[in-house]
């Protein structure tokens, strides 16, 4: 059985790991820390290739949080317009289905959704919107996650009441629900009789849910996930990597492999090193030259290059750790997913 080591447990690493495992590889995925995809809005702005899209949608369907595709539009948690090609169902509307009137319902004293600001911006791009602050029974510290207020049935009752008192036909709420509680959106709609929408929100539940679904997809496909662990060294022979040293807690293990997929993310998430210029933390691979923010591992045909510029035989790359000469704002997630889909094809040639 061919063995693959995937370094990084963000969008590209997890999707590629699942695809490889489904193709019969024995896959170990190693990653630590919150990946950039978990800080994203959990909506995909760019387009996914047909095969990739189909596969991603089936993973989300199986995890109980189906995605909707096409030309979708939603409102962010500060009220700006957000266009995307893929989102959770309660976050966006299809073209021609824009809400007639919106009440923005934020939590009083919490920054997760600013109701007055968002309503005023929504009015600015042609919606009939008003803001409303939901009274909370407790003090809500700014630093805590809004999902932590809505775990109990009591809190949901309160939420249903508040939604019913809104005058808008559609009610825009903060990102309140974890993946486990995602069914609450349907419950809210059914019980309140309103169309209920989730504000598109970065750095919150939507991104966390997105990565949790991909994790579930990888586990389902048979990937061994080594979360909370970090690859600290690679054992190289010529242009091949034979093994890696992995650290977790006070413990260290070694893992042998036939192929390595670097999907370790950019400098933001401690993937590539940033010391004035971008560097490879393993001091093994070549970085592209002449790029600043779009920099990362130099690559050819999906493979990384050794420091001397020759092509690594069994080391591949996907996502943010790669150099992208024309990196576009907001395209990181679609690029990570498309990369994963494509690199698996390259790896099958090993």
């Amino acid at each position: 059985m061919r063995r693959a080591l995937v370094v990084g447990m963000g969008a590209s690493g997890l999707l590629a790991a699942a695809l490889l495992a489904r193709n019969g590889w024995k896959v170990t995925a190693v990653g630590r820390g919150t990946p950039a995809s978990a800080m994203s809005t959990g909506c995909v702005r760019g387009n996914l290739s047909t095969g990739c899209l189909k596969h991603v949608m089936s993973i989300f369907q199986a995890a109980g949080m189906p995605l909707v595709g096409g030309d979708r539009t939603g409102a962010t948690n500060i009220g700006t317009r957000y266009d995307c090609s893929l989102s959770p169902e309660p976050s966006t509307w299809a073209q021609g289905e824009r809400p007639k009137s919106v009440t923005v319902l934020g939590l009083d004293g919490h920054p997760s959704l600013r109701p007055m600001l968002a309503a005023s911006l929504l009015n600015g791009w042609g919606h009939r919107a008003e803001g409303r602050k939901m009274k909370m029974k407790m003090i809500v510290p700014m630093e805590s996650s809004p999902s932590s207020f809505f775990r109990s049935d009591d809190a949901i009752e309160h939420l249903v009441d508040e939604v019913q008192q809104c005058s808008g036909e559609t009610v825009l709420l903060p990102a309140l629900f974890t993946l486990q509680d995602h069914r609450r959106w349907n419950e809210l709609e059914r019980r309140s009789g309103r169309k209920v929408m989730e504000a598109i929100t970065p750095l919150g539940e939507p991104g966390l849910r997105f990565v949790q679904v991909l994790e579930a997809g990888a586990v389902q496909a048979g990937v061994e996930l080594w979360g909370g662990r970090k690859v600290t060294a690679l054992k190289t022979r010529g242009n091949n990597i034979e093994a890696a040293v992995v650290q977790g807690g006070l413990d260290t293990r070694s893992v042998e492999t036939d192929a390595v997929l670097m999907a370790s993310g950019g400098p933001l998430v401690d993937g590539t090193l940033l010391r004035g210029t971008m560097e490879d933390p393993f001091n093994t691979f070549r970085m592209a030259s002449g790029l600043t923010i779009g920099n990362g591992y130099a690559h050819a045909h999906g493979r990384l290059l050794a420091k001397d510029g020759t092509i690594m035989e069994n080391v591949f790359g996907a996502g943010d750790c790669l150099s992208i000469p024309k990196r576009k704002y907001g395209q990181g997630l679609s690029q990570a997913l498309n990369d994963a889909w494509n690199v698996v094809r390259d790896m099958e040639g090993v």
């Binding site: 630590r32 919150t34 950039a36 800080m39 805590s144 996650s145 966390l208 662990r229 807690g249």
Partner: protein
């Protein structure tokens, strides 16, 4: 320390089980306490706030920049002794250590002092509060052929003292314990907090019970469906592999395990929260209990005396891993 790497993403705060508990709202959160305050001391007054952390490592796991938040928190606490008056629960703990050498008093009678080469070190909570768990561990070790002592001379490992700024007392305990340990080749523990302390601060050959079980096959008399309370200090402190091995051992023994997403979130029993802020600790345990009740399990299996203690207080039936397993001859 490496707090300067913070990118302000808030992942640590979304991961914090104290900050996201309804009774933990007065905790300023890991970023304010352990990342910002050490860098900008003129802007923050931390006081006893750092003591509301359970040291569960969840923030550290979530941090994309590999900031060693739990270590920073420990360092802040070391400096607390001169700046803050100790909390009543913490003062009691220190007094107990002074009087009996352990954080809680007990009437444990199962000492085994026969000059064996392996020492079982149950720790304060095991000896003082859960003698039945200590007996189960000892019995399990006997059954797999590990002859061992349980020494009345071994004292508190010092971990709880370091977490409340009592460094000198912890160092004195380490000296006394090292004299006891020097007679043994191996120390076995049943508390992840003790294990972490002995490995990290004593540098001795120490194994948590679950690390000895993975290459053996057991049976289980635990009937019904059980969930897990995966101890923070086992999974995120010591070794995530050890936590996974524990699960495998239980599954192989035939335990009907229900895996829950919340199984590895903190129960509120650690880091001195239980003694220092009992209401917050109890609220966290109750939230976990609700999850387990909703899942319809009979109880939980764990490998930490603090988790056992705290979840039992919240009305959940708890088995230590030693009580869930029997050796198959």
């Amino acid at each position: 320390m490496n707090e300067g790497r913070c990118i302000k993403c808030g992942s640590c705060m979304r991961a914090c089980p104290v900050l996201n508990d309804l009774e933990g709202r007065s905790f300023p959160g890991p970023r304010t306490v352990a990342v910002d305050a050490p860098r900008f001391p003129e802007r923050y007054s931390i006081g006893t706030d750092a003591l509301m952390c359970t040291m569960c490592h969840a923030c550290e796991w979530a941090c994309p920049s590999s900031i060693t938040i739990t270590r920073s928190m420990a360092k802040l606490r070391e400096g607390l002794v001169s700046t803050a008056a100790p909390l009543p629960g913490h003062r009691r703990m220190k007094e107990n250590v002074k009087r009996f050498g352990r954080t809680v008093e007990g009437d444990f009678e199962g000492w085994k002092e026969n000059g064996k080469k392996t020492l079982y070190f149950p720790g304060c909570i095991g000896l003082g509060r859960q003698p039945e768990m200590v007996a189960a561990v000892s019995h399990l070790l006997d059954s797999i052929g590990i002859e061992h002592d349980i020494s009345s001379k071994a004292m508190c490992c010092g971990s709880p003292l370091l977490k409340i700024g009592a460094n000198e007392e912890a160092e004195e305990l380490r000296h006394r314990n090292m004299m006891v340990f020097s007679a043994y080749d191996l120390v076995i523990t049943s508390c992840p907090g003790c294990t972490y302390q002995l490995r990290e601060h004593y540098g001795i050959n120490v194994r948590h019970l679950v690390e000895l079980l993975s290459d053996r096959t057991f049976t289980s008399s635990a009937e019904g469906r059980w969930a897990l309370q995966v101890p923070c200090h086992l999974k995120r402190g010591l070794s995530p592999w050890a936590a996974e091995d524990m699960v495998d051992t239980l599954v192989k023994a035939g335990v009907d395990l229900v895996r829950l997403k919340e199984e590895d979130s903190c129960c509120g029993g650690g880091g001195g929260l239980l003694s220092g802020f009992p209401e917050t600790s109890m609220s966290m345990a109750r939230s976990k209990a609700e999850v387990y009740v909703r899942a319809g399990v009979r109880g939980v299996i764990t490998a930490c005396p603090f988790c056992s203690l705290n979840l039992r207080k919240a009305g959940i039936e708890v088995l230590d891993v030693s009580q869930a397993l029997s050796w198959k001859e």
